[in-house]
């Protein structure tokens, strides 16, 4: 970089070191998820946003750590949930907590807003992917900004977007249709958004469905709820009904 800055046209330059293929393999080993978590769900309701994620961390197919929460309360305005590599989530958690602490210590009454964190995370993740050293995680950022609920996703490339219902990983296939259906029905029938209780019931239902079919899911999970003036995280456990199992046929 420095040599390039000093370059003057006409100066003689030696051949740049273009390196040896095998030594400088950009697709490096080690940048691959090892301790992983499965899907996260998020849904917007009339006065806030709710997120759900289970507490299991897998090591391959081993259900390794069964009590690893991954919904982070950032401040009184934002919650973040993560899926994917757990260590990368922990790294981001440390960074975000540091950010919040610095902000608090300034004591100027200004705190981070959800859209700001969403953009910030997208820049950090994009920067890492451009260096080919990705943080192998997907983040959901939820909060209320100017009385409007906000829910956004950022994936490991830095692909960022906002929507009213988001699910990552397996949830995108299993839970998202349920969520879209519930929200659309409510809108069509009553021309309104889900209430808080409806949203929580919806997430509980989705987590149950995921537990039945997602082999990396777990029956203990958390729901984080953020509204205009409160943030809370509930610890929940499923009571699965396995009697339906015998009705599933065609695999034996």
């Amino acid at each position: 970089m420095d040599i390039k800055q000093q370059w003057i046209p006409g100066n003689f330059k030696s051949v740049p070191d273009i390196g040896h293929t095998a030594q400088h393999d950009v697709v490096q080993h080690g940048w691959t998820p090892i301790t992983t978590t499965t899907s996260v769900l998020g849904v917007v309701f009339d006065s806030g946003v709710a997120l759900a994620a289970d507490t299991l961390t897998s090591y391959g197919s081993m259900a390794c750590f069964q009590n690893n929460p991954r919904i982070l309360t950032v401040n009184q305005n934002i919650i973040v949930a993560a899926a994917g590599e757990y260590s990368d989530y922990q790294f981001i958690r440390d960074v975000v907590e540091e950010k919040v602490r610095t902000e608090k210590s300034l004591n100027d009454g200004i705190s981070m807003k959800p859209k700001a964190l969403h953009t910030w995370l997208s820049r950090v993740l994009y920067n890492r992917r451009t260096k080919m050293k990705p943080l192998w995680s997907t983040f959901l950022v939820a909060g209320v900004q100017n009385d409007v609920p906000f829910l956004g996703e950022i994936d490991k490339l830095g692909t960022a977007f906002a929507d009213e219902q988001i699910a990552s990983g397996y949830g995108a296939y299993l839970a998202l249709p349920l969520m879209r259906k519930a929200i659309d029905e409510k809108r069509e029938k009553f021309n309104s958004k889900l209430t808080k209780d409806e949203a929580i019931d919806l997430l509980k239902k989705c987590m149950e469905v995921l537990y039945y079919r997602d082999a990396r899911s777990h029956d203990k999970y958390q729901i984080g709820i953020v509204t205009k003036d409160s943030v809370e995280t509930q610890n929940l456990a499923l009571k699965p009904r396995w009697e339906v199992a015998k009705l599933v046929q065609g695999y034996e």
Binding site: V27, H29, W31, T32, P33, I34, T36, Y59, G60, S61, M62, S122, R123, Y126, R129, T130, M132, P134, W136, E153, D155, L157, G158, T159, A160, F161, A162, D163, A172, Y173
Partner: protein
């Protein structure tokens, strides 16, 4: 048998830095206007991320940028360009003209020649004479001034259609705003039939002397 022994271990996966997030752009310029439209589907593979992500970015009161391709690159590129425009505004106390933005965009795209932005850009605006102008790009910043263009996942489907309608236009027979708008709608309807990465809605911006008009047209949702 390795498969049995390896069953429990995490699998190594390659990291691919690009995603194809789909989406298409159509833009047409006329004598005193420019229209640029994009669909609003953001997808990856068979998965639709969201059905309401416009791919148009307003850069000033006279220019709009349309980007499709890899969404993370799009976000990064548009952020950089917007910050560059701000510093230009603060340095010179002038809003950058579309032709200058066009050159800036070309240079910025080329800065990533060896790790390209996987983005197809179309810049639409009104030039200093108040005439519509349009610039279309390739991913590493080759810029060309055109009268109409289509790009993105169904660019190949829509471009020849625009050619057949607008290819032989002369100065005496310029394209009108209404005609341009209906061409945009037709092009997207046709593309929506055959391209799974294009659909949901079309948002269009019509840039004119007295401001930018925005509208939405519905497309296939499947």
């Amino acid at each position: 048998m390795d498969t049995i022994i390896d069953r429990g271990a995490p699998k190594a996966r390659n990291f691919e830095p690009y995603a194809s997030n789909g989406g298409s752009i159509v833009a047409i310029s006329g004598k005193d206007f420019a229209i640029v439209a994009s669909d609003t589907r953001l997808s990856e593979g068979y998965m639709i991320y969201t059905r309401k992500q416009s791919k148009l970015f307003q850069l000033s009161d006279k220019s709009v940028l349309g980007c499709t391709g890899c969404w993370c690159d799009t976000l990064s590129l548009t952020n950089i360009i917007q910050s560059q425009l701000k510093s230009y505004l603060y340095d010179h106390n002038t809003i950058m003209q579309p032709n200058s933005i066009a050159q800036l965009l070309s240079t910025l795209l080329y800065s990533r020649r060896f790790f390209p932005y996987y983005v197809y850009n179309v810049l639409a605006g009104l030039d200093s004479n108040g005439e519509g102008c349009l610039y279309s790009y390739d991913p590493v910043g080759h810029c060309e001034k055109v009268n109409y263009t289509a790009g993105g996942s169904s660019g190949v489907l829509m471009q020849p259609f625009l050619d057949s309608w607008l290819g032989n236009r002369t100065a005496e027979n310029p394209v009108t705003e209404e005609e341009a708008l209906s061409l945009v709608k037709d092009a997207f309807t046709a593309a929506g039939e055959r391209d799974i990465y294009t659909g949901d809605e079309v948002v269009y911006n019509i840039i004119k002397k007295d401001g930018i008009k925005t509208g939405v047209v519905q497309l296939r949702k499947d």
